[in-house]
């Protein structure tokens, strides 16, 4: 033992309990620091999107406008255009991030995020079919997209069910269902009127261009229900992370907990897609980034939500101003950023022999 070689401090050598406390403190502190830094980053990004753009508003003016002041020209830009856009980006990004992290943890596979396994594709397909084939008013597409996400999830669940849900089968069935739904979307677009196509485009790439105050309750009210439900289920998720048998041995009610978590995760993906369209890869990258930052302590759900919010805020801002005169929708930017992450994860998973 090395302890013999080092002189003991006056208070005596650390007891086993002290060492356990020290080890727990270390990993908890890192998770807390990561969460605070990400939260600060989200605030900074929000301030940037509110102040800077094609029309700059000074920070004191922004604060005054948020306080209710009327400033000629600036109030409309900040209050009616930029603030609902930022709040939609934060809510949708956090919901995507949480949804992806839950799926990936539950299925123990980084590919199992809702944007890969066809759940957001279900939302898109439903919205596009309703707008282009059934003549739905695009303003009413959000509830249809929500129903589409739930329908796709139910279909995947039924097709993947064999007495219990196996992670690998869920991913494979999900990718297949996603492909079918994308085909439905493409088919509907080729047969649609040109004017409808531009309205339906948001449901293919994901965009915050139509974010308004009236759309916010549809995002934030369900978030207010789903997040507390998730808090209740989080402890079970920590057990399920160790495998179904180990979880059951610890006293987790495995099947009810899984169904509850799937319902919450699908709900989160559905409301986010209904609000911002199927913004590519946000659900997929948030969990892995958050877990890498926290070093594996716990489930990293809070950091995943914050990473999601930061990614959508940053990608939307970059899409609007980083490409000169071309204003790219947020989903195009996240798609460009997300694809390399997908390749990196696949390459890494194969190298360490964890393709599953």
């Amino acid at each position: 033992m090395t302890a013999v070689l080092t002189p003991a401090p006056a208070s005596g050598p650390p007891t086993p309990v002290d060492r356990v406390r020290a080890a727990r403190r270390g990993s908890r502190r890192r998770a807390a620091v990561v969460s605070w830094v990400l939260a600060a980053l989200a605030v900074v990004l929000t301030v940037v999107t509110l102040t800077l753009g094609s029309f700059d508003v000074s920070l004191p003016d922004v604060v005054r406008i948020l306080g209710g002041a009327e400033i000629q020209g600036a109030t409309f830009v900040v209050w009616d255009l930029r603030l609902p856009r930022a709040l939609t980006a934060i809510g949708a990004g956090a919901a995507f991030g949480l949804s992806g992290a839950i799926f990936q943890t539950l299925v123990r596979n980084p590919l199992a995020s809702p944007d890969i396994i066809g759940i957001t594709a279900g939302a898109s397909a439903a919205a596009v079919v309703a707008i282009t084939q059934l003549g739905l008013n695009p303003g009413l597409a959000a509830p249809v997209a929500f129903a589409g996400a739930l329908g796709a999830a139910a279909l995947i669940y039924v097709l993947a069910w064999r007495g219990a849900v196996s992670g690998y089968r869920l991913v494979l069935v999900g990718i297949g269902v996603g492909a079918v739904l994308n085909a439905v979307t493409s088919y509907s677009l080729t047969r649609a009127e040109v004017t409808d196509v531009s309205e339906a485009l948001v449901w293919i790439t994901g965009s915050l261009n139509s974010a308004t105050w009236s759309g916010l309750p549809g995002l934030w009210v369900p978030l207010g229900v789903l997040v507390p439900a998730l808090v209740v289920l989080t402890r079970s998720l920590g057990g399920l992370q160790l495998g179904d048998d180990a979880a059951a041995g610890l006293g987790v009610r495995v099947e009810p907990a899984k169904v509850g978590l799937i319902v919450v995760a699908v709900g989160l993906a559905a409301i986010a897609t209904a609000a911002a369209g199927p913004v590519a890869f946000v659900a997929f990258v948030s969990g892995p980034i958050a877990r890498r930052l926290t070093g594996g302590h716990g489930l990293a759900l809070v950091p995943s939500a914050l990473v999601g919010a930061c990614v959508v805020l940053a990608a939307d801002y970059a899409g609007a101003y980083a490409f000169g005169d071309t204003r790219l929708p947020v989903g195009v930017v996240t798609g460009i950023l997300g694809a390399p992450v997908l390749l990196w994860l696949l390459a890494r998973a194969n190298r360490i022999g964890k393709g599953g």
Partner: protein, 281 residues
Amino acid sequence: MADIEPQDPAPGHHTLAASGLSLGYDNRLVVDDLTVTIPTGKITVIVGANACGKSTLLRGLARLLSPRSGVVLLDGADIARRATKDVARVLGLLPQSPVAPDGITVTDLVGRGRYPHQGWFRQWTPQDDAAVADALDVTGILDLADRPVDELSGGQRQRVWIAMALAQRTDLLLLDEPTTFLDVTHQVEVLDLLADLNVDHGRTVVMVLHDLNLAARYADHLVAMKDGRIVAEGDAESVVTAEIVRDVFGLHAQVVPDPVSGTPLVVPIGRHLRRRIQTLV
């Protein structure tokens, strides 16, 4: 180890038994009308050929499978009727291949064993710290406390999982092949550790093992299974005989006393050697 969980009315006296138990998956019956009583405070080892139903029996005893018929009795009452979290304070399980989350530290993983003792109004307490510290101490991995589990060797990792089950502070400990993937040194090390837990702390241990000779050496009570039924049951001397080994494993073997422990030692004969012996004779 002195402090006793308040939820635990009679430490060292919890009993586990199965009566007329049938278990299966889909349309396949794996354990067929089996009755067994696990001796309290002893080490019970279940042995048998591959696919004889030994792991299924263990999962059934740990209420992971609901019975087709029959019951598992924990303290004389149907285990399926008790809240699963209450059961988890009395009965711990180490499954065959648990998953360590990427990057999790030893202390955090062992801390997951405290799940059944926590709840809405009882989050992490000093008692949890003490239980984790004890578990790390007993399994000899205190020095690894802040290391990530995925950096450890197979033997160390198995100790971490056993420590997690210990942090659960259950009287009954069920383990499904705790020595798989370990070299012979670490196999003996893990079994010694479990024997210590049984002798020093009075824990009832039930495990599935592949190695008959190690099973004979460490078991107080051996259960030999074939085709979902118990073929023989009792102490090592009465269960590990040439006839039963042939019946259960289909293996021709001679059984001699282990020169070290005196317990039965199975010496397989095998087809090639048998032919050579016959030509010699």
